[in-house]
Amino acid sequence: MKRLLPPVMVAILLLGLWQWWVMAYDIPPFLVPSPLLVMKTLAKDWPLLSGSLLVTLKVTFLALVASVVIGVAVAFAFVQSRWIETAFFPYAVLLQVTPIVAIAPLIIIWVQSPTLSLVICATIVAIFPVIANTTLGLRSVNPGLASLFRMHGASRWQTLMRLRVPSALPYFFGGLRIASGLSLIGAVVAEFVAGTGGTGTGLAYQILQAGYQLNIPRMFAALVLIAATGVALFVLMGALSRRALGGWHESALRTSEEAA
C-alpha cells in the first residue's frame, strides 16, 4: 500500500494540472482533450474499444505464450551442445536486431490468417529475452552443486530437473518480465503495419482510425487502454515471479519485505 501511494499522488497531481490547463486556456479537444473527456469517451466508446482491447490482448497473450514455449525450447537446445548454440545464436540475434516494422509487411503478406500474422510479428519481438536469459540461467549452475550431483551419480534427467531448471528460474522470470512488455509492443506495432487494410480491429487500428477522423479523445482513450494493459502485464509477471521463486530468491524477497 505504501509503495502505491506516491505514484498515485503524482498521477492525481499531473491529471489535475492537465485538466486545469485545458480548461483555463480553452484548448480545443481535437488538439488535447481533457482527462475527464478522455474518461467520458472511454465510457461512451467502451463497446467498440473493449472489443479492440480483447483483440490486442489475444495477440499479446498468444505471442507471450509462443515466445515462452519456443524460447525455452531453444534455450534447452542451446545448453545441450555448444555447437548448436554457436551455430544458431547469431540468428536469434538477427531476429532481435531487425526492426519488426521492416519484416511485418512480408509476414502479413505471406500468412493468410490475420491473427496468426500479428502473433508471429509480436513473437519475433518478444522471444529474444526469453532465449538469452533462459540459456544463461541453465548454464549458471553452482559448480559445487554440480560436483555433488555428479558424485551421487545423478542422471542427466535428474541434473536437469533438480539442478539446472531451478537454477535458471530467476533468470527465466527476468526474461519473462521483459518479454511480456515486448509482446504488447510487438502486437501494437504489427497492428499499425497491418493498418487499415481491413484485417485489424485491435487498439492500434482504433488509434489509426481515430487519427484519420481527428477523433483525438478516442485516440487518447485507446492509448490509456494500451498503457493500462502494459502496467497490468508487468504487475502480473511480478506476482507470478514472486509466487514461483517463493521465499528463496533475493529478487522475490526484497520486494515482499519492502511491501510488508
Binding site: S147, L148, R150, M151, G153, Q158, R162, L245, W248, L253
Partner: protein
C-alpha cells in the same frame, strides 16, 4: 587405533598418484598415502600445494594423470565442500535429503534418516527453514547433515570451516570430532590452518606448493584427549611449531630451488 593401522585393507590407498595438466603445469608430484579405517588424516599446506587436487582424486571428481587412487570396497563416501553449497530453492530438509533422492530411497526411510542427520548436527528445529535464513555456521551444519544422511564410512572435507569465524569454527571442530567418534568415521580433511590440523588429526600430511607435493607427515597423539585445554596446552603449541617448521622448511627449499 593400532588395530586399524594393522588392517590389511586400508580405506584409502594412494600409490604414486600425480596430476599434470595438459598445459604442462604440475599440480601434484607423485604421492604415497594410506589411510586406515577410523583414522583422521589432514592434508595441510598453502594454497597451490595440491591438497584439494588430492582430495578430489580420492572423491573421484578428478582422475590422476599417473599412479593409482583406491578407495576400499564397500566404503560409502561423502564429500563436504568449502562452501555449504546448499540449493537455495529447497528448504533445509530437502537439501539434506538430496543424496537419498538421487539414489531413489523410499520416502519413509528417507524421512527418518533426514531427521536423524539434522538432529546429529543440531538443526532439527530448522528443517523447514530456507538456507538463506541460516547463519554461515548453520549452513555448514546443514551441509554436514547432507553428507551424513547416506550414513557414510568415509568423509572427505575440503576446508569446510574456512569461511567461518574462529569461535564458530572451534565449535564445529568439536562437533566434527564427536560425530566421528559416534559414527566411527574415517576422515580425510583439507585445511590451511595449522591449529585446526593439530586439534583434529591423528596424522597431518604436510604439503608444499609449486610444484604441489607431500613434504612431511606428523602424527598427533594428545596425552589427555582433545578438548579446550588441549587447544591452549604446551603440547598443542609443540605440535603447532613442528608443523610450522615443516611448512617453512618446505617453502625455503622451494625458494632455493628457484634461486
Amino acid at each position: 587405533m593400532s588395530a586399524a593401522h594393522l588392517s590389511p585393507n586400508p580405506v584409502i590407498a594412494i600409490r604414486a598418484a600425480e596430476k599434470t595438466y595438459p598445459s604442462g603445469v604440475r599440480a601434484l608430484l607423485p604421492v604415497e598415502l594410506t589411510v586406515a579405517a577410523g583414522e583422521f588424516v589432514t592434508l595441510l599446506g598453502p594454497s597451490g600445494c595440491g591438497k584439494s587436487t588430492l582430495l578430489n582424486m580420492v572423491a573421484g571428481l578428478l582422475a590422476p594423470s599417473a599412479g593409482q587412487v583406491q578407495v576400499g570396497e564397500g566404503e560409502r563416501v561423502s564429500f563436504v565442500f568449502q562452501e555449504a553449497t546448499l540449493m537455495p530453492w529447497a528448504r533445509v530438509a530437502a537439501n539434506v535429503r538430496l543424496p537419498l533422492d538421487l539414489a531413489g530411497t523410499v520416502r519413509d526411510a528417507g524421512d527418518r534418516r533426514v531427521s536423524e542427520a539434522l538432529q546429529l548436527v543440531g538443526l532439527d528445529k530448522f528443517a523447514n527453514a530456507w538456507p538463506r535464513e541460516l547463519s554461515g555456521g548453520m549452513q555448514m551444519r546443514a551441509s554436514i547433515a547432507r553428507s551424513l544422511v547416506t550414513e557414510p564410512t568415509l568423509l572427505l572435507m575440503d576446508e569446510p570451516f574456512g569461511a567461518l569465524d574462529e569461535i564458530t569454527r572451534n565449535r564445529l571442530d568439536d562437533e566434527l570430532l564427536r560425530l566421528r567418534r559416534e559414527r566411527n568415521l574415517t576422515v580425510l580433511f583439507v585445511t590451511h590452518s595449522i591449529h585446526e590440523a593439530v586439534y583434529l588429526s591423528d596424522r597431518v600430511v604436510v604439503m608444499a606448493a609449486r610444484p604441489g607435493r607431500v613434504v612431511d607427515e606428523i602424527a598427533i597423539k594428545p596425552a589427555a584427549g582433545r578438548n579446550d585445554d588441549f587447544r591452549v596446552s604446551i603440547e598443542f603449541a609443540t605440535y603447532a611449531k613442528q608443523l610450522q617448521d615443516a611448512l617453512l622448511a618446505a617453502s625455503r627449499n622451494a625458494d632455493e630451488a628457484l634461486a
